[in-house]
């Protein structure tokens, strides 16, 4: 009888918290890439395999959170933010985890190694891309405060500055990517062509982590503009 009470039913589940939980999960998943590439550089196959499985598992968990949230966001819910924006952010967050899974999957599946000359720089590059995801997570974490303040006032300024920082991290990753590509370009003639092709693909994929993270920030910025 109580479950049918309409004041009770009037309040739906706020989508903000689940969205944040999803992003946290995505971040945990992406962070695994750091030890993963460390293991690759160290040529520790067992460790790399283990981490790849874990990444894949975390990605699945994030996927489940995504589906839960989508199911709990039926039309006819009055939300403080537009439903389209929320679902868009969710999709972008999810793509970060997907990309991480793809990267680890290809590396393991093709038994790839990193040429010694790009190794250290590549680790720095991965770290910076994970930083971008971390910053995106921090920004999404402000969403409940934004709802509390009705998307106005000093909280908006705070979030704007966080988004700016996210942008600058992303541009760092771009610079690192250019550096790595130029080194690889110099040595690519001495490497098996197909491997090189895939290496470029991996470099691009890691860069995408930062790009997608930045897109999460941009979407939040659009939310603020409304």
């Amino acid at each position: 009888m109580v479950a049918k009470n309409y004041i009770y039913r009037l309040f739906g589940r706020s989508p903000v918290k689940p969205l944040q939980t999803h992003m946290e999960k995505v971040l945990i998943c992406v962070k695994e890439l750091i030890p993963f590439f460390q293991a690759i550089v160290n040529e520790d196959d067992i460790e790399a395999n283990k981490i790849q499985k874990n990444i894949s598992k975390l990605e699945k968990e994030a996927d489940k959170l995504k589906k839960d949230l989508r199911l709990h966001l039926p039309t006819g819910m009055m939300l403080p933010v537009s439903r389209t924006d929320l679902l868009d952010i969710l999709r972008l967050q999810d793509q970060i985890a997907n990309r991480a899974k793809d990267i680890a999957g290809i590396m393991i599946g093709r038994k790839m190694v990193l040429p010694a000359r790009i190794g250290p720089l590549f680790l720095e590059y991965v770290q910076r891309c994970v930083d971008a995801a971390d910053q995106a997570n921090k920004t999404v974490n402000e969403l409940d405060e934004l709802v509390e303040t009705g998307f106005r006032g000093s909280e908006v300024e705070l979030v704007k500055s966080m988004i700016n920082k996210l942008d600058s991290i992303e541009s760092d990753t771009d610079k690192l990517q250019i550096k790595i590509r130029s080194i690889l370009f110099k040595i690519e003639k001495d490497l098996p062509p197909v491997d090189v092709m895939f290496l470029y693909k991996i470099i691009e994929g890691v860069g995408d982590l930062a790009d997608q993270s930045q897109r999460v920030g941009s979407r939040l910025q659009l939310m603020l503009a409304r």
Partner: protein, 419 residues
């Protein structure tokens, strides 16, 4: 009057049952937002509800009771057959009670107010004649059902936006919360006291001039404000808690405010909804005590208001506390700053209606207020489907209440006329 005592006993029993039902179910709706925003524990909510529901019923319940007992039916037409009014009022109580039981069982968002008004109009229009219904008054009441949620929504929207401007969106929300929240408390005390005083407390032996009313209301507002300030100064602020959610400490201040508004909500609910149960009782008692005369002047005995209050508190104590606990713990998306805006808007609207003698639905008013806060982008998720059914429900409730009342009217008439 033949069977006079029987009628009174029946009326009291039906009325008590109705009041019990209001206490068991309806009060939970009024208190749920306070419990849901964690401003009150369940125990505190039950105690506040008991005290202020009773106070509201006794001090400010007179006007609406008057409307229910003699505002809608032209009793002049009944001066030769006063027993028809008695049958009708008993039938209305039964009809509303039965309809509410059915609705509660199926979880339909049905309002006590709409049920009883539908029932009274139904028995009067069919049992006596279309001309027996004061259609002017009835249409005013129907209008107020549309206006009250809208008004509550508008007030809530404005209140919540003012909270944003003055407190939440500033650089120092905590400092500003300490500064401005007491003024909101003043507002609560002032408005509730003023409306109650203006409608007169003659029945408890207190008569005031407008000037006196204003001064007492200001005094009462200040008193609430001072109590609130003391409570706020006692809050234990922990800067560490703000790391997780930056507004934790600000919301603590709003919790105190929410306590005050919870009291006003219980008061408002008591003042309006008690009439649904005891208005018909008062009508029956009035007819019987005046020896079968249908008097328009008879004064409402205080004990009947008290009876309604007791019924509500009994329902609350026996069953309502469970409903409050479950409903309250289910509402998690509400922080005190939102809960306060919605509750205050609803209680002001309801108290205004009580003062004007308009029976309105407290729950529907509260739903309107919650929507107002939602429109100000204040609430995580509001299920608009529920809102739609809530506002559709009174279209169903009126004919249902009326039909049942007509049925019971003829049954009662059959029993007592033959015997």
């Amino acid at each position: 009057m033949e069977y006079g005592l029987v009628f009174i006993i029946l009326a009291v029993v039906f009325g008590l049952f109705m009041a019990w039902g209001i206490g068991a179910n309806d009060v939970a709706n009024a208190m749920a937002t306070s419990v849901g925003s964690k401003a009150l524990t369940i125990k505190q909510a039950v105690i506040i509800a008991a005290i202020f529901e009773f106070a509201g019923a006794l001090l400010a319940g007179g006007q609406v009771t008057k409307t229910i007992r003699k505002g809608m039916v032209d009793s002049e037409l009944l001066s030769s057959t006063p027993e028809l009014l008695v049958y009708g009022m008993l039938a209305s109580l039964l009809a509303a009670g039965v309809w509410l039981l059915i609705a509660t069982f199926y979880g339909w968002p049905v309002s006590t107010t709409h049920s009883i008004v539908g029932a009274i109009v139904g028995f009067a229009a069919v049992g006596i004649g279309l001309e027996a219904v004061h259609w002017n008054k009835v249409s005013t009441i129907a209008m107020s059902w549309v206006v009250s949620p809208l008004l509550a929504g508008t007030i809530a929207f404005i209140l919540f936006n003012s909270v944003h401007r003055l407190i939440l969106d500033t650089a120092q929300p905590l400092v500003n919360a300490k500064k401005y929240v007491p003024f909101y408390m003043f507002l609560v005390g002032f408005i509730i006291a003023l409306v109650t005083l203006f409608k007169g407390l003659k029945h408890v032996g207190l008569e005031t001039t407008p000037l006196q009313s204003y001064s007492i209301a200001i005094g009462f507002g200040l008193l609430i404000m001072i109590i609130g300030k003391i409570l706020i100064s006692r809050i234990n602020f922990d800067p560490g808690e703000d790391k997780v959610f930056h507004y934790t400490n600000v919301e603590k201040i709003f919790s105190v405010l929410m306590m005050v508004t919870a009291c006003s909500m219980a008061f408002a609910h008591g003042s309006n909804d008690v009439a649904n149960a005891i208005g018909p009782v008062a009508a029956v008692v009035g007819v019987v005590q005046s020896g079968g005369e249908v008097s328009q002047k008879s004064v409402l005995p205080l004990w009947i208001l008290g009876l309604g209050g007791v019924g509500i508190v009994a329902g609350l104590a026996m069953y309502g506390h469970k409903v409050i606990a479950t409903v309250g713990s289910g509402i998690t998306a509400l922080t005190p700053s939102r809960g306060f805006a919605a509750t205050l808007a609803a209680s002001v609207t309801v108290v205004l209606a009580s003062g004007t003698g308009l029976p309105i639905s407290t729950t529907h008013t509260l739903v309107g207020a919650v929507l107002g806060v939602g429109l100000a982008r204040g609430i995580g998720a509001i299920n608009l489907g529920v809102v739609r059914t809530v506002f559709m429900s009174w279209i169903v409730t009126l004919p249902a209440g009326a039909f049942l009342a007509i049925l019971f009217f003829y049954i009662l008439k059959g029993i007592f006329s033959v015997a």
